[in-house]
């Protein structure tokens, strides 16, 4: 009993807490034993491929589904059994779900009306929130007259005007075009700072999650694989799934041929030999299969024979031929075909000069074993 009350006291620090939440649809485990806590005022993302259960989890937090087992606490209070309209958790829907038969003012005022606020209060609050999302003049517009980005902000304002404990966002940027999506990422982060409310953001787009979040949970097949800051997830993934899902990466499957403290030598299926560092759970022994991941930015590519600086002897070195060049400004990349016929991606700087790599050039790729993240399969 004593420990329970202590738990409750600690829980009040968190805006949202899930304890061993499960949701089964028949024999399908949509959400399986998920636990996490989100401290006040932070931006938390749940990142996972489609069908991983993230939407079900969000719908349980909002109250549209009830968990098969486990507890969901908002500001330390369990909300199991509380209907969605009594929870102080607001949600920005995937397609925003603005009410087309009401204008902007009515859309924002709807929640306040439901709460029984007086006309004057509603008027000041609506104008306040419109001011804060820097759209002070749209109150009398119809929803169909707004641009995509404006709709987005109105959908957030409609929730924020109610001072929610937690704001849930269900992939709200999915419907926007690329340029606007980039701009909205930054804007969402700024809005979160401004309102100082906990945002829980659901997405399958890793760049959205990495750019905006304080913490990200990687979800797969109903389970949380890893929770951490974007940097942790990127540089220290705890599982092969995280390493493959977050960020771009070269991936090899291979067998361990030698084990040293924290390091392994791996021969890939195609016959490449490389040294790597052991990550994640489980220490692979000789003969075990492992997955090795190397991010393209850690592979340096030099034209063969003209290398100015000598390659660190401890590095993995592979010779190959440039297959194609993927030019994308500062994020340019080359595809190199190695001796075994596999394609390896490496980031390069293309200045537009004569020194640039061209297709069919012979190149030497090298990277440090430390950056070869090897997971026991």
């Amino acid at each position: 009993m004593q420990s329970m009350t202590e738990n409750d006291l600690a829980a009040t620090e968190n805006d949202l807490e899930c304890v061993q939440v499960r949701k089964h649809f028949g024999s399908v485990r949509a959400v399986d034993d998920v636990s996490f806590e989100i401290p006040k005022g932070s931006f938390f993302s749940i990142l996972g491929p489609s069908g991983c259960g993230k939407t079900t989890l969000m719908r349980m937090i909002a109250g549209f589904e009830s968990p098969t087992a486990g507890d969901i606490r908002i500001k330390g209070k369990s909300v199991i059994g509380t209907p969605p309209n009594r929870r102080n958790v607001k949600m920005v829907f995937q397609h925003l779900a603005l009410f087309p038969m009401m204008n902007v003012y009515e859309n924002i005022a709807y929640g306040l009306r439901c709460a029984g606020a007086s006309k004057d209060v509603i008027r000041t609050k609506v104008h306040d929130v419109l001011e804060r999302i820097s759209l002070p003049d749209v109150a009398n517009r119809e929803i169909s007259q707004l641009s995509g980005g404006q709709k987005q902000r109105i959908a957030i304002a409609r929730c924020m005007v109610l001072d929610p404990d937690v704001l849930l966002l269900d992939e709200p940027l999915g419907a926007l075009d690329l340029k606007l999506r980039e701009a909205m990422k930054i804007e969402l982060k700024l809005l979160q700072h401004q309102f100082d409310t906990t945002f829980v953001y659901i997405t399958h787009d890793q760049s959205e999650a990495l750019v905006m979040s304080d913490n990200v949970a990687i979800m797969n097949e109903g389970k949380f694989v890893q929770i951490g800051t974007p940097q942790e997830l990127y540089h220290n993934p705890s599982a092969a799934f995280v390493a493959g899902f977050v960020g771009d990466t070269n991936r090899w499957a291979g067998k361990v041929t030698r084990v040293e403290s924290g390091a392994v030598e791996v021969v890939t299926e195609a016959g490449l030999t490389m040294r790597g560092s052991v990550r994640g759970a489980g220490t692979p022994g000789v003969g075990d299969t492992v997955s090795a991941f190397v991010r393209p930015e850690f592979i340096s590519a030099e034209k063969s024979g003209v290398s100015a600086k000598p390659v660190d002897p401890a590095h993995n070195v592979i010779n190959g031929k440039v297959d194609s060049i993927l030019f994308n400004g500062a994020n340019s990349r080359i595809l190199v075909r190695d001796g075994a016929g596999e394609l390896i991606e490496a980031d390069v700087v293309l200045t537009g000069g004569t020194q640039d790599l061209k297709p069919k050039d012979d190149v030497t790729l090298s990277w440090s074993p430390e950056q070869t993240m090897s997971f026991k399969a």
């Binding site: 549209f64 009410f99 109610l162």
Partner: protein, 289 residues
């Protein structure tokens, strides 16, 4: 140049059947009817232009009383059809699964395959003095003597609601179907309870469908003939019966034509009033579904 001519020709050819239909079967007969309605019979085969047939209608209370009665009963039927049809449509569009939805829709449609007349006789079999309801009530001992359920307003209204409810359900299902479920969820999420969500979100969203269904149902009811006559009997006092009387029994085509136009004017007026009250336009309702 050639291309353009061919395009134009194909447009004309495609449009021709519709234009012919509208002109030959709708415009022309109405012009003829209107012509008949504004001539007064002054002697055998002697006619004069005048509004006498219309004036007759207003000076004879039984005529306009019948029209008012028809109008108000039609409104009642429309309201009942809406009250009964809305939950059904909501269930079909929003609650039923994909497979049940098709089955339910089909169940609503199948009665339409049977002619109006047969369906009205079905009601007669049920409701008449020696009918199924009366005799089973007798058998159960609820009543001692057979009761005639036919030939009263309730029977007429019930029969009409039954005949027209499908025309209410179809447009409602199609508008509710277009409504994103997330909108209803958003309604709850922002703090609304069941009645609030219904009143402030679902009904306003479904308004075009509601109005469209109401217009069709009202027009069909006010212009129906078979059901009121068969279920209401001689004293059903339906306005279409009055028109039929003028044409067939009294052979007074002039007066019948005038009544026809009055019915058209009256129903149009009611529809116009309804549109004004609900703030909808024909374009946003009937033209859409």
């Amino acid at each position: 140049m050639m291309q353009k001519d061919i395009k134009r020709l194909s447009l004309i050819l495609l449009f021709a059947p519709f234009a012919l239909w509208i002109f030959l079967l709708i415009v022309l007969p109405h012009l003829g009817m209107f012509y008949i309605s504004v001539r007064e019979k002054v002697g055998p085969r002697m006619y004069e232009f005048g509004l006498g047939n219309y004036i007759n209608f207003f000076t004879e209370p039984i005529y306009w009383n019948t029209l008012i009665r028809t109008g108000s009963m039609s409104l009642l039927v429309t309201a009942l059809a809406l009250l009964l049809g809305f939950p059904i449509a909501y269930y079909i569009a929003k609650i039923a699964g994909n497979r049940t939805r098709g089955a339910l829709f089909l169940m609503c449609l199948i009665p339409l395959w049977v002619s109006d007349l047969i369906r009205a006789f079905g009601w007669i079999l049920l409701l008449r003095e020696t009918g199924i309801i009366s005799s089973s009530l007798q058998w159960a001992g609820v009543i001692n003597t057979p009761i005639e359920f036919l030939y009263n307003d309730a029977a007429v209204i019930m029969g009409l609601v039954y005949t027209v409810i499908l025309f209410m359900i179809v447009p409602l299902v199609s508008t509710l179907d277009g409504m994103d479920n997330a909108m209803i969820e958003a309604g709850y999420n922002l703090g609304g309870n069941g009645p609030t969500v219904l009143r402030r979100i679902i009904i306003p969203y479904a308004m075009p469908g509601i109005v469209s269904g109401c217009i069709v149902v009202f027009m069909l009811t006010a212009g129906s003939y078979l059901t009121p006559i068969l279920l209401g009997g001689k004293n059903s006092s339906w306005f279409t019966e009055q028109i039929y009387d003028q044409f067939i029994t009294r052979y007074n085509w002039e007066s019948g034509a005038a009544f026809g136009f009055l019915l058209l004017a009256f129903t149009s007026l009611v529809v116009w009033g309804g549109l004004k009250l609900s703030g909808q336009t024909l374009n946003s309702t009937v033209a859409k579904s």
